[in-house]
């Protein structure tokens, strides 16, 4: 946490340009800039600023937005729900779909359904995310009018009409890579002797797949899933901008554009800490879930 905080302090102070000069605006004079530097907490030596920055990080004190003067934590809290509305279902569907298709691919290993699937998956992986968004928004929201082009509803039950297409795009963009990884996990597992024994004993294929192979690859899949959890919390910047989803991705983008330093700081520090915590919890959980690791 100290390392993250230090790194971010260095980045904010030496890489991005002076935030006070930007915030001061085009008509500011030297006296206004000096006053603003003091009011924004950029006065004093670099060491004093660093101590203040680190203390705020450790105390989880994010202060108020420079742009709206509202509480940074409240603003982040407001964005979390919409972001998760898109990323969480998209994430779960992508894994469900990837598991199904990976089993299908392995079942037809190196036969035409497998080849076709690999072709589709590789194609989808090569399509840029922006192109996918532009295409789907134009075709499914505008031309076919199955979904609203843009918008959001705070009501958790009404928002799904707006969320559906972004979820679908998120799923489409994220499931192909997962298919390939899971496919290789299954292909490796299926070579093992217990599978051969089960087949020899006449156990149904679906029982082998879903009762035995699935159970054994799940810890690997779980590790992969857990590492992606922090990204779910920060939302999808592009999707949120194109569909008007008031999530954290949109918030981050606008805060950067508006030089809203406290919000950018909170989001980046929180994101880094959540990532570290998730990796740690993931490592612990994997031991609990996979008894084989304990015996090793």
């Amino acid at each position: 946490m100290l390392g993250t905080s230090t790194l971010l302090f260095v980045l904010f102070h030496f890489v991005g340009g002076d935030p006070v000069l930007t915030f001061a605006g085009k008509n500011a004079d030297a006296a206004t800039i000096a006053q603003l530097r003091q009011d924004l907490g950029f006065s004093g030596s670099l060491l004093q600023q660093y101590v203040r920055f680190t203390r705020e990080t450790f105390l989880w004190d994010w202060g108020t937005s420079w742009v709206s003067h509202g509480s940074v934590l409240k603003r982040i809290g407001e964005g979390l729900g919409p972001s998760l509305t898109i990323t969480l279902p998209g994430f779960l569907i992508a894994y469900f779909l990837a598991l199904l298709l990976a089993f299908l691919a392995v079942h037809y290993f190196e036969r035409w359904p497998d080849t076709l699937l690999q072709f589709i998956v590789s194609f989808l992986m090569s399509v840029s995310f922006v192109v996918l968004i532009l295409f789907c928004q134009k075709i499914f929201a505008y031309d076919l009018a199955w979904f609203p082009v843009y918008g959001w509803d705070h009501d958790i039950f009404k928002r799904w009409s707006y969320a559906a297409l972004p979820i679908a795009i998120f799923t489409l963009a994220t499931f192909p890579a997962k298919v390939l990884v899971i496919r290789s996990l299954i292909a490796e597992e299926i070579e093992k002797k217990y599978v051969l024994t089960a087949r020899a004993k006449g156990v149904f294929t679906h029982t082998i797949y879903f009762s035995h192979v699935l159970k054994n690859i799940l810890p690997g899949v779980f590790t992969m899933m857990w590492a992606q959890v922090p990204a779910l919390l920060t939302g999808s910047l592009l999707l949120e901008a194109f569909f008007g989803i008031p999530g954290l991705g949109n918030l981050l983008l606008n805060s950067i554009q508006a030089s809203d330093f406290p919000v950018v700081k909170a989001l980046t520090v929180m994101g880094s800490i959540i990532y570290i915590v998730c990796v740690f919890i993931g490592d612990v959980l994997i031991f609990i879930l996979d008894p084989r690791l304990e015996s090793k």
């Binding site: 000069l21 085009k26 008509n27 206004t32 709206s68 009409s161 559906a164």
Partner: protein, 622 residues
């Protein structure tokens, strides 16, 4: 055998599932208030999991009566007047809050009119005292911040409070410059407040409310442009009850005297305004500029404002959703972005495919100027001949064609059209592309063929592709002279830091007018404003300064115009900037949308807009 059976069963299951979903979908379409284009089976197979969210529906005929559907091209940052630093926030603030004055909606050049002031402000003979009468019976919108929830009457003391907020350094308002160095005691009060030696109860000598409806402003010296600033979003009036009641959330709970009040704000997505039932008497102008009547802009002359009961404003930063929503009729008005202009325009006319739909187009000129600035303190660039040579080697006609679809007005100086002092028919000889002459000037400067000159760094204000392409264009043009240019991309904060610390030698910029007065553009060459002030080229000329100071104290008229012309001639000759363009906006309106007229300076516009809901319904069905 087992495998084959499994395959057969699973295939049957998928199709049965899809069929059931299709039936459910069609059933849903029949039984609900939604219109659904029922998807084909193949489509369902493509997106089977979407169906779980019951999502393929488009709301039908939500309450659209008397509703405007508009958009912001950037996300709204704040509804607090003192925090509204960008034009989008200012525009939204001015739908809810009001100031002493505003601009007549139709007259051009723009003309000041009283809004909350009861008549135009009265100036003393020496121009240092301004007395403003406030209209009686103006009420703030109803809000829980007031006792019993009813909006109370506006008084002159509310202006004193609101302008103190602007000076309060805790509010970190960028707009503090509006009254800085102008009002007696204002800067001192700010200083004392930040030092804890003053409170909001401490009076400011130069802002007084001698009675409930009178406001007196004492100036350090005559300031003609101050009246324009009484229209600015930052000088609008807020009730102290709302600031105290909502505290740090005040920027999300605006309470004003304007035509609308905020109903909801889904941040970064949608803002909904509704009519303020307490809105005072305000009427559509009875007179306009020449040609307004033929454009149908006077059909509602004298009618009570606002026309709309509800305004939905989508915050859309991406271009495609803006375009799709407009094309579908879900936006009443759209400022077409550069990439979509070729689809809309046929030359400078609306394309036939849009005209037949009844769509209307207007091409207003922005009160701005784009330019390439030279740091006149640079060892080489302080040589006027080099700047003149570079200006002459820069082919602006080609630039306009390549990057602006030729939809710009060439700028010969800093003052844009619609501002006093603009001269339509003059030519700046350094703006005429003439490579041979440019080479001659460079030789006269002592650097024939660019020999002896170091490579100059061209600082880009953004990392946007277009900005890079335009910088590349400049580089190519200068290469013809033998001058080497290195391109440097920057984020806006990096760029800004370079400007404010005099580290940007050549840069591209635009200046959007804060008010429609030549002073706002000419101050960019005033030596007292050099970096970190707004004079980013650090241009310094005693002659210019003398003229500028004289102009500031001269009332609008022939003498002032003459001073403006002299200053403009001086900067045209000195070339601290290569003057580029005054930008032209492309607005398209739906056939059911009326009373649209644009000027960068006029922002309290929603109350004038009118829609014909029946026509909208009919056109959209068609």
């Amino acid at each position: 055998m087992n495998n084959a059976r499994c395959r057969k069963v699973s295939k049957w299951n998928i199709f049965a599932f899809a069929d059931r979903l299709e039936i459910a979908f069609r059933e849903q379409a029949r039984n609900t208030e939604y219109t659904v284009k029922a998807p084909r089976l193949s489509s369902i197979l493509m997106f089977p999991l979407l169906i779980f969210f019951g999502a393929a529906c488009t709301p039908k005929n939500q309450d659209k009566e008397q509703t405007l559907f508009l958009h912001l091209r950037e996300q709204l940052r704040s509804f607090d007047p003192v925090l509204a630093k960008d034009i989008y926030s200012q525009r939204m603030v001015l739908q809810i809050y009001e100031g002493l004055l505003h601009f007549n909606y139709l007259k051009r050049p723009v003309e000041l009119e009283p809004l909350l002031a009861d008549g135009m402000p009265q100036m003393s003979a020496d121009g240092k005292t301004i007395t403003i009468k406030i209209k009686h019976s103006i009420f703030f919108a109803d809000d829980p911040c007031f006792s019993n929830g009813k909006g109370r009457e506006l008084t002159a003391a509310d202006f004193v409070y609101s302008w103190k907020r602007l000076a309060d350094s805790k509010n970190k308002s960028e707009s503090y410059w509006i009254f800085r160095d102008k009002i007696v005691g204002y800067d001192e009060w700010r200083k004392h407040l930040s030092e804890g030696k003053a409170t909001y109860d401490t009076p400011i000598a130069g802002i007084r409310a001698p009675d409930k409806y009178t406001l007196v402003v004492e100036l350090k010296e005559r300031q003609y442009e101050l009246l324009y600033l009484f229209t600015h979003a930052a000088t609008t009036v807020v009730p102290h009850e709302a600031v105290e009641h909502y505290g740090e959330e005040f920027s999300e709970h605006p309470v004003g005297t304007g035509a609308f009040r905020l109903a909801s704000w889904d941040k970064n997505s949608k803002i909904t305004l509704v009519k303020n039932e307490n809105y005072h008497d305000d009427f559509y102008p009875k007179e306009g500029a020449a040609g307004d009547a033929s454009l149908g802009l006077l059909k509602n002359a004298g009618e009570k404002l606002p026309f709309a009961h509800k305004v939905v404003v989508h915050e859309i930063s991406e271009e495609q959703p803006q375009w799709l929503l407009f094309n579908r009729g879900d936006l009443d008005l759209w400022q077409a972005t550069k990439d979509y202009q070729p689809q809309i325009l046929d030359g400078d006319h609306l394309a036939k495919s849009f005209a037949v739909r009844g769509i209307k187009m207007s091409l207003p000129v922005s009160t701005d100027v784009t330019y390439i600035g030279f740091n006149t303190e640079n060892k080489f660039l302080k040589n006027k001949k080099i700047r003149q040579a570079m200006a002459m080697a820069y082919d602006q006609a080609l630039l306009a064609k390549r990057f602006y679809n030729a939809l710009v007005i060439s700028a010969h100086g800093p003052i844009p059209p619609n501002v006093e002092g603009y001269r339509k028919n003059i030519k700046n000889k350094y703006q005429q592309y003439n490579l041979a002459e440019a080479k001659k000037y460079l030789s006269e400067a002592g650097y024939p063929g660019g020999k002896g000159l170091p490579p100059f760094v061209f600082e880009m204000a953004s990392m946007h592709t277009t900005a890079r392409q335009m910088a590349e264009f400049f580089k190519q043009q200068m290469a013809q002279l033998g001058i080497q240019v290195k391109l440097q991309t920057n984020t806006w904060p990096q760029f800004n830091e370079k400007l404010k610390t005099k580290k940007a030698d050549i840069f591209d910029m635009a200046w959007n007018g804060d008010y429609p007065d030549a002073e706002n553009f000419l101050q960019l060459f005033y030596s007292k404003n050099i970096s970190p002030g707004p004079n980013s080229t650090n241009f310094s000329s005693p002659e210019f300064d003398k003229l500028f100071e004289e102009m500031k104290h001269t009332l609008s008229g022939a003498k002032r115009k003459d001073l403006i012309y002299k200053m403009e001639d001086l900067v045209m000759e000195e070339v601290p900037w290569i003057f580029n363009f005054h930008r032209v906006f492309v607005f398209v309106e739906q056939p059911w949308f009326y009373n649209f007229k644009y000027d960068t300076m006029i922002m309290d516009t929603f109350k004038y807009y009118r829609v014909d809901d029946k026509q909208r319904q009919k056109d959209k069905e068609r």
